[in-house]
């Protein structure tokens, strides 16, 4: 039996139900962090701008992993990664008070071919490394503690993603791959 999947590029409303569920899961998961300081009140313009950039990056990653699902539907990691990054975008939206919509098209376009290629695991590792490095820069710019709390939890999670992807690549015993992040942050 052949499995077909609609390319989200041509059908942006695909999997709406799954996204809604992922958003709810994000809210529940983040609630477990005890994020009492998470509030949209009093957010400065500089913080909002930085967080909007981080949110667009997360939505780009969600869409890129959907591209990977499209060409490699048997690998369960892709759907998990896509859902996690959508959850991060929703968590950021919870801080900024804005909707989680609108990816970074430039970033998405620059990585779409790589994530659909046979070397997609390596591409995913590079994406996660870049995302973790970017959020480190982001947390160093934020003045809002609640927002920093959200970004800190994303950094922890994406660092773990890198280790898993390194292992899937067959480099789980390479300590430079698993323990170090040599990626540079995505430019704003």
């Amino acid at each position: 039996m052949t499995t077909t999947r609609v390319d989200p590029l041509h059908n942006p409303t695909a999997d709406v139900r799954r996204r809604v569920l992922a958003g709810g899961a994000a809210a529940l998961a983040f609630g477990a962090l005890g994020g009492s300081r998470v509030s949209a009140a009093g957010m400065g313009t500089a913080d909002s701008t930085v967080l909007r950039f981080a949110q667009q990056l997360e939505l780009s990653l969600r869409d890129l992993y959907e591209q990977a699902m499209d060409v490699d539907p048997s690998e369960p990691l892709w759907s998990a990664m896509s859902e996690h990054h959508e959850a991060y975008a929703h968590a950021i939206a919870g801080v900024t008070g804005t909707s989680a919509s609108g990816r970074n098209d430039e970033f998405f376009g620059a990585h779409r071919v790589a994530i659909r290629s046979a070397d997609r695991i390596s591409a995913a590792y590079e994406l996660e490394s870049a995302a973790a490095a970017t959020h480190l820069e982001v947390i160093g710019m934020l003045t809002d503690v609640g927002a920093a709390e959200v970004i800190a939890s994303i950094i922890s999670a994406e660092s773990r993603h890198c280790v898993v992807l390194a292992d899937v690549m067959g480099k789980g015993n390479d300590l430079s791959y698993t323990l170090e992040n040599s990626a540079t942050a995505v430019g704003q």
Binding site: A32, L136, I139, A148, A152, S156, V164, G172, T178, L179
Partner: protein
């Protein structure tokens, strides 16, 4: 009338010895309470009275959880894990492959402690170059003791190493909410990301083949504990980084089949290394 007079005296004597005493005593207490309530405040020590000649107990300075206390606390935890890894390695319970990891982990922890010491000095405090005393007493000593008497020391050593690396990652993430500057939050999470990677690597090595990468919070189909009741380490335990406690079970079962169990927690009042504290 001799007999009547004698009876009257007896009654009077009995009344004096019981009723009068009660009446007089109650009246005295009442007047005392009334006068005390009406008296002026003459000052003086209001503390409870002391008996004997023992010296007054020393009072600790009031600790403040500021940025330098956060830095020094994490520095102490890095030193604690260096000590733990050293003792577990000395016991010979790591495999040769694991020893390669542990040597790298130890070097990373020493480097992290050094970095934190520099941050502490730059922030106007001093480097705290020793273990966290509370963590040693509350966690390290009992865990190491339980492992030394375990029915499977290699398993317990692996579980303990993962648990302590995980709680270190949780601690860095948790203290972000207490740090007052963006630069310190970034510095904490730079080290926290390394701790998350070490935790994930250990989980991959021990659980990937049997249980996969995703934990129960990220995949409802997987168990949280194995057939023997030990918590299963997952590389990605949940979609978000966590700050909760880590359950650690080690040691040999007792007569009831129960093993030593503890819940590792992120730093709190007892664990903080305040500015007035030194090694």
């Amino acid at each position: 009338m001799t007999s009547d007079s004698s009876t009257t005296e007896t009654v009077a004597a009995e009344g004096l010895s019981r009723r009068s005493l009660l009446r007089t005593g109650g009246l005295t207490l009442g007047i005392g309470a009334f006068l005390s309530a009406c008296a002026a405040d003459f000052g003086g020590d209001t503390a409870a009275g002391r008996v004997g000649l023992a010296g007054r107990p020393a009072e600790l300075p009031e600790g403040t959880l500021n940025d330098t206390a956060i830095i020094r606390t994490m520095q102490s935890l890095e030193h604690s894990i260096v000590a733990l890894l050293s003792e577990l390695k000395s016991s010979g319970n790591y495999s040769p492959a694991q020893t390669t990891y542990i040597d790298r982990f130890s070097a990373d922890h020493v480097a992290a402690a050094s970095t934190l010491g520099e941050h502490a000095i730059a922030a106007g405090s001093s480097s705290y170059d020793c273990e966290n005393v509370w963590v040693r007493d509350r966690y390290l000593n009992p865990v190491i003791s339980a492992i030394s008497n375990s029915d499977n020391a290699a398993r317990d050593t692996r579980l303990a190493t993962h648990a302590f690396e995980s709680i270190l990652a949780h601690s860095y993430q948790h203290l972000v909410t207490h740090a007052t500057t963006p630069s310190l939050r970034r510095a904490l999470m730079e080290l926290g990301a390394h701790a998350s990677r070490r935790s994930a690597l250990l989980a991959v090595q021990s659980s990937r083949e049997t249980y996969g990468y995703l934990g129960a919070s990220a995949n409802a189909d997987v168990p949280e504990t194995d057939a023997d009741g030990f918590p299963i380490p997952y590389a990605i335990p949940a979609p978000f980084g966590q700050v909760g406690q880590i359950q650690l079970i080690v040691g040999a079962p007792d007569a009831d089949g129960a093993r030593y169990s503890t819940a590792l927690q992120t730093p709190a009042e007892n664990t903080f290394v305040y500015d007035y504290m030194s090694c």
